[in-house]
């Protein structure tokens, strides 16, 4: 205990250095991509301290493929999907948590199947259904199989069950209808869970790839992930500075949102994760 505070700080840094080295290693792929994206192509793989910074790669990749359209497509896809998911899941969760109706348990078991087998596993048959509905290559088609979310129902049902019965009874005695009770009592008390579900779902659908790849086949519907995949594996030789710039651009909205709302995101993932 005789060490001075300064020495103690140095000691702490030294003992932390292996962890720091590991943290740096972990960040390397991303840092390499950032390096290549913000420097001229000549420097994309050359590390020189005097390498000039540039935004040209972002501009060029933005113009080289219809990324503006892809952004729009993904935004619509995510908003459409998550909005319906929340509404449908809230309604169903309320009924499963607080109402009794015939076939309830059997139905609940059927729905929970989706927790393990997501629609994207069943893509062969789901593609067939979407084609029959005449919806192939539309933006809704990429969201429709997910509109009923067993995960959302499960999560919200757990939460609704913790809502004090007395509050609900009071609302009922005041003459509130079922929808009104859901709206006035349950939803306000479940805001955290709703946000948790929304953020988890937004992250999932912003990043979803395989199902949209199967369903979309034109610029007007293709989401960012599929657009990026096509852009990153071109016939005419890959230009890494453009590809890394496009990669960062496509991930930027979610990354920036995360950096701003870090705590909320982490809390949401925790809440949604522990089942």
């Amino acid at each position: 205990m005789s060490a001075t505070p300064a020495l103690r700080t140095i000691g702490r840094w030294i003992s932390a250095s292996p962890i720091w080295a590991f943290g740096l290693l972990w960040g390397l792929p991303l840092l390499y991509a950032v390096w290549s994206a913000v420097h001229p192509p000549a420097y994309s793989t050359e590390f020189a301290l005097n390498a000039p910074l540039t935004a040209a790669n972002f501009v060029d990749s933005w113009n080289a493929a219809p990324f503006a359209r892809y952004f729009l497509n993904t935004t619509f896809l995510v908003l459409f999907t998550v909005a319906f998911q929340i509404v449908f899941a809230t309604m169903a969760a309320f009924a499963f948590a607080r109402l009794r109706f015939p076939g309830q348990n059997f139905l609940f078991a059927l729905l929970l199947l989706q927790l393990m087998i997501s629609p994207s596993i069943l893509l062969v048959w789901n593609y067939r259904e979407i084609s029959w509905l005449g919806l192939a290559n539309t933006i809704p088609a990429m969201g429709i199989p997910y509109l009923g979310s067993a995960f959302g129902i499960f999560l919200l049902r757990q939460n609704f069950r913790t809502v004090p019965k007395e509050l609900d009874d009071a609302a009922r005695l005041e003459g509130c209808s079922l929808p009104a009770r859901l709206w006035k009592v349950y939803i306000p008390l479940s805001r955290g869970t709703l946000i948790a579900f929304a953020l988890t779902s937004i992250s999932y659908h912003w990043n979803d790839f395989l199902w949209p790849l199967v369903v979309s086949d034109s610029v007007t519907t293709r989401p960012l992930t599929v657009g990026l995949e096509i852009f990153a594996t071109p016939d005419q030789g890959v230009q890494w500075s453009l590809v890394t710039a496009a990669t960062l651009m496509s991930s930027a909205p979610l990354l920036i949102a995360f950096l701003i709302f870090q705590r909320q995101f982490v809390q949401s993932f925790l809440r949604a994760g522990i089942r």
């Binding site: 702490r12 932390a16 962890i19 590991f22 943290g23 390397l28 792929p29 991303l30 390499y32 991509a33 449908f88 309604m91 169903a92 009924a95 499963f96 607080r98 109402l99 009794r100 109706f101 139905l107 729905l111 199947l113 927790l115 393990m116 087998i117 629609p119 596993i121 069943l122 893509l123 062969v124 048959w125 789901n126 259904e129 429709i144 199989p145 009923g148 979310s149 757990q158 079922l178 990043n207 395989l210 790849l213 992930t225 599929v226 995949e229 990153a232 890494w240 990669t247 496509s250 991930s251 979610l254 990354l255 995360f258 982490v266 993932f269 925790l270 809440r271 994760g273 522990i274 089942r275």
Partner: protein, 289 residues
């Protein structure tokens, strides 16, 4: 619980319609179509029993995809668990700059798998990719990570681990923060070694989190193939092909939907076993919040 036979059904109806139509119905239909052949040369499809499954077993690409996927899970699941736990323990301690460390560990989680794929495609490129430069620097020479049958699958595993370890870290962090400080203080007073404390106190308390992480990582190992589609298309020589990729290629590149249906059912069987494991064996031990 109130009895509301009609209202109850109305409330669950929208979600039910979508889940039944796009999960349960496809499941049954996939099972059914895996027992039939496709129409061919003017003849309608007909019932063939397990022929499509026999066809899968006879297909070296399928056998390899199944084996690859088992290996892939066997490596990525424990690796993600151990790394996530180590990361959490590291950044839970009062070390300088731990907010930055957490960010470095967690950021890959927020990227789309496709973006992770492009980044690692660049990272792995022979000659000027960072991995290759590093290996030639230390005298290992060039390694064609994605182009060699022996390294393609490990390269895919590294990506999966990199992408998800940070995500699991936050669950361990939360669990660590739930360990009551008095426990640690008492242990310190008794002169218990840090390793002993970790083995006898911390580790058991992290048990439920570990189960959750393992099941999630296992499900991911069988249901995320975006990087395979983007980076190797299952090659070289099927070295990096996973089950869901096999389903995708069979169904949407070869248009062999009945074989794809049979392969889907194998995947469903595996996922169901994982589900049974989670809800049955481990179910009682996983804690609820």
């Amino acid at each position: 619980m109130e009895r509301h036979p009609v209202a109850g059904w109305l409330f669950v109806l929208p979600a039910t319609v979508f889940i039944l139509s796009f999960t349960d119905l496809p499941l049954v239909a996939t099972l059914a179509s895996s027992l039939y052949t496709a129409p061919f040369a003017g003849h309608p499809g007909h019932y063939v029993g397990l022929d499509n499954y026999n066809g899968l077993i006879a297909d070296p690409a399928f056998r390899q995809s199944l084996w690859n996927n088992v290996l892939y899970a066997a490596v990525t699941v424990p690796a993600a668990v151990v790394l996530a736990m180590a990361m959490a323990l590291a950044v839970n301690a009062a070390i300088p700059g731990r907010a930055w460390l957490r960010l470095s560990f967690f950021l890959p989680t927020m990227l789309p798998m496709i973006a992770v794929g492009t980044i690692w495609l660049f990272f792995y490129t022979p000659q000027y990719g960072l991995v290759d430069r590093f290996t030639s620097l230390i005298g290992l020479g060039q390694i064609n990570w994605l182009g060699d049958t022996s390294t393609a699958l490990p390269a895919m595993m590294a990506i999966a681990i990199w992408k998800q370890a940070g995500f699991f870290m936050i669950f361990y962090l939360a669990a660590l923060q739930n360990i009551p400080p008095p426990l640690r203080e008492a242990a310190a007073l008794e002169g218990v070694s840090r390793f002993y404390f970790f083995r006898r106190v911390t580790l058991p308390l992290l048990g439920p989190t570990t189960l959750f992480v393992m099941v999630t990582a296992a499900i991911n190992a069988f249901s995320v193939v975006d990087h395979v589609v983007e980076m190797t298309q299952g090659g070289p020589d099927n070295a990096s092909s996973l089950l869901l990729y096999y389903v995708y290629a069979t169904g949407f590149r070869y248009w062999n939907t009945h074989a794809a249906a049979a392969a889907t059912m194998v995947l469903v069987l595996i996922l169901s076993l994982l589900a049974a494991l989670m809800f049955g064996v481990f179910g009682r031990k996983v804690h609820y919040r």
